[in-house]
């Protein structure tokens, strides 16, 4: 009798889950939905400097935001046809699964479990992040190897502690960790010389560095000890839409590689280089096979820019963050950013 009731209850739960998952899966081709709606719903953060945040005039800016604008440019020829939905780290996956956003471009690390268990699909990395270190220049360190016996300030509740322990153990270095609850406490303690080095994801290290009283007295060490590939995610089950997101990023990388930028894209239409001509849709029909127009990549570069441009403007040398290109350089410059050819 009782077990029967439990079975009934389980049945209800399963039915509910099935309804939820199936309605998410049969949401249909996302591109058509976006065109019907007239704008792209893009999930961004509630404020991460350089990646996605509203500026003083209420305009969304950042590296992740520019990816959304690039996709909107490719679809609508208008970078402003984006509805930015600000999501907390907790709500972001639910929002994507429920269809509240078409795309998650929110500083999200590509991991196996997020693809295997959460139904996300990642395909490109628009920022290679990783755990990094910052030290006072007066310490005279230039590499992690010099840090044996150092005290390290870091924030609890992240994977940073584990990464740190692993790295120092494998390299047979001694260290002492001082752990704080919030990022602001951590950086204040570091500033008060409670520890020799500060450790967090590189993008956060640079953001925190700008909050110091004398930012110029500190140096960010070149090594990264963990992999945090950040990239856009879509729902599984709509490969056509996934392709559009993926190739928008690749188009920006290829444009940088080919020297096509916002300023010269109109000029470049006269170029004889077949690769540039294919990129800008002057030869072949690649854009239409994606479900877009022929000049999709031309639109992206014209409205938003190539990858190098958006990197430098949002997080790189032209921004207060001043993050070095480093691993995010093009493969031809020794970095990891590599795009398959457009042909």
């Amino acid at each position: 009798m009782f077990s029967q009731r439990i079975k009934n209850l389980m049945g209800c739960v399963f039915a509910a889950v099935t309804v939820m998952t199936s309605s998410a899966a049969i949401a249909g081709p996302t591109l058509q939905k976006i065109k019907d709606r007239g704008e792209l719903a893009c999930g961004v953060s509630q404020g991460i400097g350089g990646f996605s945040m509203p500026d003083s005039s209420g305009k969304w800016t950042g590296l992740d935001v520019d990816l959304c604008r690039a996709i909107a440019s490719a679809i609508f020829d208008d970078p402003n046809k984006v509805q930015f939905v600000a999501l907390s780290a907790k709500d972001r996956f639910t929002a994507l699964q429920s269809g509240a956003v078409d795309l998650l471009s929110r500083n999200t690390t590509w991991t196996m479990s997020r693809e295997s268990a959460l139904g996300m699909s990642f395909s490109v990395v628009n920022f290679y992040d990783g755990q990094g270190f910052m030290a006072n220049k007066s310490l005279g360190v230039s590499s992690l190897k010099d840090l044996s016996g150092a005290t390290v300030c870091l924030t609890s509740g992240t994977t940073h502690e584990m990464n740190l322990a692993d790295y120092f153990r494998t390299h047979k270095l001694k260290y002492e960790a001082i752990v704080f609850v919030t990022a602001d406490e951590t950086i204040k303690a570091f500033e008060a010389n409670r520890c020799d080095v500060y450790s967090a994801d590189t993008s956060a290290v640079y953001a925190q560095k700008s909050k110091l009283k004398q930012p110029d007295e500190y140096v960010v060490l070149p090594e990264l000890i963990s992999k945090e590939p950040l990239g856009p995610a879509v729902r599984q089950g709509d490969a056509e839409w996934g392709n559009i997101v993926k190739w928008t990023h690749f188009a920006m990388i290829n444009a940088e590689e080919l020297g096509v930028n916002r300023a010269n894209v109109v000029e470049m239409r006269k170029s004889e280089n077949p690769e540039i001509r294919r990129l800008l849709g002057l030869e072949g029909n690649l854009g239409e096979s994606l479900g877009l127009s022929k000049d999709w990549a031309d639109r992206i570069v014209r409205h938003v820019g190539n990858y190098g441009e958006i990197f430098e403007a949002n997080v790189g040398s032209q921004s207060p963050l001043g993050i070095k290109r480093g691993v995010n350089s093009l493969w031809s410059n020794g970095g990891l950013q590599y795009a398959p050819p457009i042909r």
Binding site: S23, M53, S56, A86, L87, A207, K211, P320
Partner: protein
């Protein structure tokens, strides 16, 4: 054995010397005993320290001008407020993403709201009924048209038409109820009337497929209203009936004519600003005001239902109150934001879902506060009302509720203040309220610096404190005015 008997009156004594009001206050309230004196000194020094720290931070050490973080580099060293940061972000903090060239609409709504609200809040103001109708009935519609945008006149027409139709339907219902007491021939006619109404409804829904759904429904209701009026005979006398009929027919014709006219001629329309672009203090006020205004009637109805003797109504009220109170507000908001779209094809607007969720949530709490007041009313009041021949609605409306609500003002205002601060939870539905906007502003690398965090929280703290203090001061004023605590 002697007994002492006072044989003559004690002479009247002079008042104590040096008893100026200030001196007495100092002696009796402040320095009555050594312990009290020490306590006074300690409290005074603590207060001065805190006030001095505040003045130091917000005024003495503060930076007032500049355009980026370099301007505030100076206060980074000595802990002062960086006001140019607030100035730069003020638009975001007050209006969110609401377009700058449309912000006059928000300001106009503020102005009209204040003009209506201030006399309404005055205990001895005149024309309270008119003001109440204007503030609770017309102002929300006005605010909607102005804040959201779209056609300027259509919402008024729709609301008016719907209201008239429902009035007419109420007439019809009363009429049908009375008709039971009428001769058989009239009962037959009443039956015919019901059939005609249904036909009218169907025709109305089918005949106007060119209009939007809401218009079609309105049209159907109008037809129904016409049929009802054609047969409506109030028991109050023939001349009055004709007056009512004429008025309703004229109104229906007017509304229909206007609707059609405006659909043909282009009507003035404001630019639509979707609620996803609303934000800042503005959205905080929208959510808080809606929740506060809606929670009182919801609370009264639920409280009365919970004390009702009808078991189904009582059980439903208890179930609703306990379920809503037993779930955190954030869960309700989260569910309505991310789960509802999975079940509904066209879920209502995100902010509307939040407003409904917040109103129901606050209503459930309000119900229990008001129920407390209802339980404090002695049984004699009910019996007195019954002995005067008052019915349920009259007893409650004239005798019980006015006393009960007067008793629970502190609890009600407590709930309002809590609700005002709970509005920060709307950040889960991707709306930047005042605090959310501030947190987003913190992440701007153009401004990042050690003093930004303190400045931002000091500023938001002052705004929240200002609003909450106003509310509690007003409640004290009202209590004073109504003399609820039966002080002699």
């Amino acid at each position: 054995m002697e007994t002492y008997v006072q044989s003559h009156p004690i002479p009247v004594a002079q008042p104590p010397k040096h008893a100026s009001p200030l001196g007495r206050w100092l002696r009796h309230e402040i320095l009555a005993s050594p312990i009290q004196a020490v306590g006074t000194l300690l409290g005074l020094s603590l207060a001065l320290t805190l006030i001095w720290a505040l003045v130091d931070f917000t005024i003495v050490n503060a930076v007032w001008t500049g355009s980026n973080r370099a301007a505030c580099a100076m206060v980074d060293q000595q802990l002062g407020a960086c006001w140019p940061f607030i100035k730069d972000k003020l638009g975001q903090l007050m209006y969110g993403f609401y377009p700058a060239d449309a912000r006059w609409r928000v300001n106009l709504v503020y102005a009209v709201g204040l003009v209506l609200l201030i006399p309404l809040l005055h205990p001895r103001a005149r024309y309270k009924l008119h003001l109440s109708i204007a503030f609770f009935g017309l102002f929300p519609l006005f605010a909607y048209v102005l804040l959201y945008g779209g056609p300027v006149f259509r919402p008024w027409l729709r609301a008016g038409a719907t209201l008239v139709c429902f009035l007419a339907l109420t007439c019809l219902a009363v009429h049908l109820k009375l008709i039971n007491e009428q001769p058989f021939a009239r009962q037959v006619r009443a039956f015919g009337l019901v059939v005609a109404s249904i036909v009218a409804l169907v025709v109305g829904l089918a005949i106007a497929p060119v209009f939007e759904v809401a218009d079609r429904l309105n049209f159907a209701l109008l037809l129904l209203c016409l049929v009802a009026l054609a047969e409506n005979r109030s028991p109050r006398g023939e001349d009055r009936v004709w007056a009512e009929r004429g008025f309703c027919l004229a109104w229906a014709g007017f509304v229909l004519g206007l609707s059609c006219g405006f659909d043909i001629v282009a009507q003035p329309a404001l630019q639509i600003i979707p609620t996803s672009q609303w934000g800042g203090l503005f959205v905080t006020l929208v959510v808080a005001t809606t929740g506060i205004v809606a929670s009182v009637p919801i609370g009264i109805v639920l409280a009365l239902a919970r004390r009702s003797s009808a078991p189904i109504i009582r059980t439903l009220a208890i179930g609703f109150i306990e379920i809503v109170r037993g779930v955190p507000l954030i869960t309700i908001l989260f569910f309505s934001t991310y789960m509802l779209p999975l079940f509904l094809d066209q879920p209502p607007d995100g902010l509307v879902r939040v407003l409904i969720g917040v109103s129901l949530f606050a209503g459930a709490y309000m119900a229990e506060i008001i129920r407390g007041g209802l339980q404090a009313i002695p049984k004699g009041q009910y019996e007195a009302a019954a002995s005067l021949g008052l019915g349920y609605s009259q007893t409650m409306g004239l005798i019980v509720l006015p006393q009960a609500i007067r008793l629970v003002i502190p609890g009600v205002v407590n709930s309002f203040i809590g609700l005002f601060k709970d509005t920060t939870l709307v950040s889960v539905v991707s709306i930047f309220d005042l605090l959310g906007g501030m947190r987003a502003a913190f992440t701007d690398p153009a401004w990042s610096g050690p003093s930004i965090l303190y400045t931002g929280f000091a500023f938001t703290g002052m705004i929240y404190f200002g609003f909450c203090y106003l509310m509690s001061s007003y409640s004290r004023l009202m209590e004073e005015h109504l003399r609820v605590d039966h002080r002699t």
